[in-house]
């Protein structure tokens, strides 16, 4: 009980600290921008640890962060192997193919009103097939190794990127389009020089959402058949063995990898859409 109380006190204290910091000058600095989320994360971990210990939660339901940390440090080679299998081979490949296909489809749809009216509803439909249903089928089609995982990721990321790209391609101002018309610019030129740049904030919306979907997709697909490595494989088998510390170790890796992936895409976004008001400094 004392530990629970301690957890609450700690929580309130760090919350206050964070609010102070984020209102101070320090938060403008590079270090400050890292410190705030770090403190927040630390708070979550400490509160978690204290609560689990204080309430004597069984480690089979929820292990404390220290146990997870210990497991991570002793299982690095396994975690690395799983990471390569699931993230690099499955998620990344699928993300690239899926996002590429979605942007191309959006352009094709946009190009032809016929396709737009014909493909968009059908595309919506196909893309709305739930992964849990598709995954077994794709595993059946593409085999149990990473290819089927990539295929699942392709299907999963396709829709968000498509929807956002289509919205983005429609987001140019009338005058901007008129200018291109007076140049009698070809369709490709208008696309390349006006519509794609203007669509970038939307496309990156889709790409960012897709990064997290890609990882989930690759992991979930492994639940439906996989070789004996991979993050999804490890999670599902360790749940059965009640190796919850290992499950959380994998989840930690997934969260780190996913956040890093998202961060990289967000960084690229910053570079590409620097001109958009959402990226210029706000007051």
């Amino acid at each position: 009980m004392n530990l629970v109380l301690l957890a609450l006190v700690f929580w309130v204290a760090t919350l206050a600290l964070n609010i102070r910091i984020s209102h101070s000058r320090f938060s403008e600095t590079r270090a400050g921008r890292l410190v705030v989320p770090a403190i927040f994360g630390l708070t979550v971990l400490v509160v978690w640890e204290l609560m689990v210990r204080g309430l004597q939660v069984s480690p089979i339901i929820l292990p404390p962060p220290t146990a997870i940390g210990a497991r991570i440090s002793t299982s690095l080679p396994v975690l690395w192997g799983d990471f390569v299998q699931t993230f690099v081979k499955g998620a990344l490949t699928g993300w690239l193919i899926g996002c590429g296909a979605a942007v191309l489809t959006a352009i094709a749809i946009d190009r032809s009103p016929f396709l737009q009216r014909g493909l968009m509803p059908v595309g919506n439909f196909v893309a709305a097939l739930p992964i849990v249903g598709i995954a077994p089928i794709l595993v059946m089609w593409f085999g149990f190794d990473w290819q089927s995982k990539a295929a699942v990721v392709v299907v999963m990321v396709f829709f968000p990127v498509l929807v956002n790209t289509v919205a983005g391609l429609a987001a140019t101002e009338a005058m901007q389009r008129d200018l291109m018309k007076t140049y009698s610019a070809s369709y490709a030129q208008t696309l390349l020089k006006l519509r794609l740049p203007a669509a970038m904030p939307f496309i990156f919306n889709g790409l960012k959402i897709a990064t997290t979907l890609a990882l989930i997709g690759a992991i979930v697909a492994e639940f439906f058949g996989s070789p004996i490595r991979g993050m999804g494989f490890r999670i599902s088998t360790e749940v059965g063995r009640l190796g919850l510390d290992m499950v959380w170790a994998e989840i930690t890796v997934a969260a780190l990898a996913g956040s890093a992936f998202y961060g990289v895409v967000a960084l690229v976004e910053r570079g590409v859409t620097f001109w958009h008001p959402s990226q210029r400094r706000q007051r």
Partner: protein, 287 residues
């Protein structure tokens, strides 16, 4: 109405490709069977056999259509074999989850753009939360909620909300930040309060982003509801149908459930799209 012809054309093309694929993918099995029986099959014999298997690798369109028809119209809607019944179960969790997820997503986005502490601390963790494989923690959510006595619709809705809040956050943060400097400066000269700036500028300006996100979010909600049905013992709902079909290798049942899910999703996305059209029109933004 102008879209009927294009849609039919696209559908026709897809169905044709589908039949071809069904023949190609199911042929191996027919040939293997023939080889095991020590006979040869000609192409004329092969085609009808590939399209009439009980457990095809890829069911033919008419098989799926029949599965759908049986599921939708062949039973009383209250029957456990009725897809309408299962679709309704999933849909109700989806809608509740979507409501919670969208509300939460918008709230978070509002917090993020208004509060530096939230901007800096919440976003990274919201991202991290989405990289946690939902299928891994869904059972934990169910177990935990069960042990505090909550079961039924709510746990599923929560998993559904978990998947749908994120697209909304990402889209809304960009959208709420999309007003340009002059638009903001104008309100600044009026000394508009933050809430006035929000309601009169940021929110209307974010609408195109919001609707793009809502479309993604509602599709994600449905996926969440289906995922949430798996660890509840897969007793009812489209997720249960999918899983059971999968256990027993009933491909046609899987496809029928899958199509039902997609029809529901497409309808939901369509509804969001219709609302979008109306709202943007009323805002004078539809040109």
């Amino acid at each position: 109405m102008r879209s009927i012809l294009p849609v039919l054309t696209v559908v026709a093309v897809i169905v044709a490709l589908w039949y071809a694929a069904a023949v190609a993918m199911n042929a191996t099995w027919v040939r293997d069977q023939a080889a095991r029986a020590g006979t040869e099959v000609s192409f004329q014999e092969l085609v009808p056999r590939t399209l009439a298997q009980d457990r095809p690798v890829l069911p033919a369109p008419h098989q799926v259509a029949k599965g759908l028809w049986d599921g939708w119209a062949g039973q009383a809607v209250t029957s456990r074999r009725s897809l309408v019944y299962h679709a309704w179960i999933t849909l109700s969790a989806t809608l509740v989850g979507f409501g919670i997820g969208t509300g939460l997503g918008i709230l978070l986005a509002v917090g993020i753009i208004h509060n530096r502490a939230m901007d800096q601390s919440v976003m990274p963790w919201a991202i991290a939360s989405q990289t946690i494989p939902i299928l891994a923690i869904a059972p934990m959510i169910i177990v935990v909620m069960n042990s505090i006595g909550v079961s039924g619709l709510l746990p599923k809705a929560i998993i559904s909300a978990y998947l749908s809040f994120f697209p909304v956050v990402v889209g809304m943060v960009t959208g709420l930040r999309s007003p340009d400097r002059m638009q903001l400066d104008l309100l600044s000269t009026y000394n508009a309060s933050r809430s006035q700036t929000f309601w009169k500028l940021r929110l209307p300006a974010s609408m195109p982003y919001l609707f793009a996100s809502l479309k993604v979010g509602i599709a994600a909600s449905l996926v969440g509801a289906i995922v949430g049905e798996l660890p509840t013992g897969a007793v009812a709902g489209l997720g249960a149908r999918l899983l059971q079909g999968s256990y027993y290798g009933q491909t046609i049942q899987i496809w029928a459930a899958l199509f039902t899910a997609a029809i529901v999703a497409a309808a939901l996305v369509g509804i969001v799209g219709a609302v979008q059209a109306v709202v943007l029109k009323r805002m004078g933004m539809a040109r």
